[in-house]
């Protein structure tokens, strides 16, 4: 099967609607089919990656630890829009650490999260074959 470049653009906050959870599930499916998957977090989507989310009192599923499994599915290109972080009073340290093991570098653990400028993100969008929005 030919490999295509898939970009998932996430622009919704995590627990107020079902979008974030649905996106994550579709991402894991595409990754299981060994596609070239990238994730972008823009606008309120950046809230999906905040550390220490605990939905215990809401009685809803806490899917945020699942992002940490992305590395095991070879999803290692996670782009976070710098401008969206800044507008919300956040920075990279507020995000959960997401890593992958680089098979081309003796399985060294590397950072999956890349905080990018608008220009960089615009280029990443241009490079894709398929773009899915959530």
């Amino acid at each position: 099967m030919a490999t295509k470049k898939f970009l998932y653009v996430n622009r919704k906050a995590p627990h107020g609607s079902i979008y974030a959870l649905e996106s994550l599930e579709v991402v894991l499916i595409a990754a299981a089919f060994e596609q070239d998957v990238s994730l972008a977090f823009v606008d309120d989507g950046v809230y999906q990656l905040l550390q220490n989310q605990d939905t215990g009192k809401l009685g809803s599923k806490n899917f945020s630890p699942t992002y940490k499994a992305l590395g095991d599915y070879d999803v290692s290109k996670i782009y976070v829009d710098q401008e969206s972080l800044e507008q919300r009073g956040l920075n990279k340290q507020d995000l959960m650490p997401l890593v992958y093991e680089d098979e081309d570098d003796d399985w060294a653990e590397k950072d999956s999260i890349h905080v990018v400028s608008s220009t960089e993100l615009a280029e990443i969008i241009e490079q894709q074959d398929v773009i899915l929005n959530f």
Partner: protein, 102 residues
């Protein structure tokens, strides 16, 4: 007492909070729930208008919704009161009516 204004949308996704702040009487209270709690974070684009609203309104935020979203109370704008579900119920009975800015 007067009106309890309830905001459940992120100030960066919808204009609910801004319309609420524009139309809320000075003695009314504002309760941030669900994605509305993102407005309680300091040093952000929406902080200034929330800070200003604190001069004329009591502002509350629902703690379980902050916890679900990983927002530490330390990040909150000073002056916003954290409440739990029981506090939420009490607020709805303390005020004459509730206005939900859906």
């Amino acid at each position: 007492m007067s009106v309890l204004h309830i905001v459940n949308k992120s100030p960066y996704d919808r204009n609910s909070l801004h319309t609420c702040l524009r139309l809320a009487q000075p003695d009314s209270a504002i309760l941030l729930i669900e994605d509305g709690i993102y407005a309680s974070i300091k040093n952000a684009a929406a902080s200034e208008s929330v800070q200003q609203a604190l001069n004329s309104h009591q502002i509350y935020a629902l703690q379980p919704d902050l916890e679900a979203r990983g927002i530490d109370p330390e990040r909150m704008i000073a002056g916003i009161s954290l409440i739990d579900y029981d506090g939420f119920v009490k607020l709805t009975t303390d005020y004459d009516k509730s206005q939900s800015w859906l």
